[in-house]
């Protein structure tokens, strides 16, 4: 599955070669950061998780057997770390009132923030922000499949390998993701239409 140069690079990395590690970070840092930021929807958190991912890559590359592409293995680590972080953040949100004890001004620390992906064109920023909000409301596996497809530009075969599932399962996940996103967006646009008619 691995090409020769990639295989050589991984072998060097498995031997703890610092130069090989620098090359791997250089090659994959944007891929990792882009995937993480699309899942956690926060630049600050994405930076931290990206560092975490590469630390884990360095520490556990020995367990990489080469039966999948290195990028597939890396995507799995990225998704696991990002989802784990999300769960921890949700747990913290639940105890937000306790956390608020520790802020200096007595404010609650965790607010649902508006997220703007840095790679979105200016004219699409507002709509993309709504899409990211809607993405948070659909099931996890549908969201991951949708993001890998739309944001990372991966095909169904590649997504299937990362998510350890079949090509057809990915097709179905993507279709369900779109249907659920449309439902969620319809709710949002109906509400804002009602609000604007009330204001008039």
């Amino acid at each position: 599955v691995l090409n020769q140069s990639e295989e050589a690079l991984i072998k060097q990395l498995q031997q703890g070669d610092q130069q090989a590690f620098s090359t791997v970070v250089g090659l994959y840092q944007d891929m990792v950061y882009n995937t993480v930021i699309s899942i956690v929807q926060s630049e600050e958190d994405a930076e931290d998780i990206t560092q975490d991912v590469f630390v884990q890559v360095f520490q556990s590359v020995g367990s990489f057997k080469g039966d999948a592409k290195f990028s597939t293995w890396l995507y799995r680590i990225v998704i696991a770390k990002a989802l784990d972080h999300e769960k921890r953040k949700k747990r913290k949100k639940r105890f937000g009132f306790i956390q608020s004890l520790y802020t200096e001004k007595g404010e609650v620390k965790y607010h649902p923030e508006e997220f703007n992906h840095p790679g979105i064109q200016l004219e699409n920023k507002e709509k993309a922000s709504e899409l990211f909000k809607a993405l948070k409301q659909i099931p996890e596996n549908q969201r991951i499949a949708f993001m890998l497809n739309k944001i990372e530009g991966l095909n169904n075969q590649e997504i299937a390998a990362i998510m350890n599932t079949s090509f057809y399962a990915v097709e179905s996940l993507l279709a369900r993701a779109k249907r659920n996103l449309k439902k969620s967006l319809k709710k949002y646009y109906l509400q804002s239409a009602k609000q604007s008619s009330h204001e008039k």
Binding site: D52, Y102, I120, L185, A193
Partner: protein
């Protein structure tokens, strides 16, 4: 109908708004920061627990909890001992009453 069509159009536009998305790029000096993390591994669980416990709010809450437990134990103990005293005095009074009745009965028999 028109508003329905408009909403459908908005939904489509929103879904397609990320079609030409560019890859977000990581911050510069990422490698330096990763290397720093590798050289200074994160604190272990026990260190994190110690840090959490030493927070002033946690410490104060812990002390308050201990005080509340102590006070409630004292109150419960006091209530229990008061009940025991009342029970005892009630038993004593009942015994005295019995004795008085017995004496009265003896007096009555003797007078007859």
């Amino acid at each position: 109908m028109k508003s329905d069509e408009k909403i459908q159009q908005q939904i489509e536009e929103t879904i397609n708004s990320i079609d030409n998305i560019q890859r977000a790029t990581a911050q510069p000096y990422l490698l330096t920061r990763i290397n720093a993390r590798l050289n200074n591994p994160a604190k272990n669980v026990w260190e994190n627990i110690a840090i959490f416990i030493s927070r002033p709010a946690v410490t104060i809450a812990g002390i308050c909890l201990l005080v509340i437990i102590n006070i409630s134990v004292l109150v419960i103990k006091k209530a229990t001992s008061a009940n025991t005293v009342a029970e005892r005095s009630f038993t004593t009074t009942a015994d005295e009453e019995d004795e008085y009745t017995n004496l009265a009965t003896i007096d009555y028999i003797e007078n007859q």
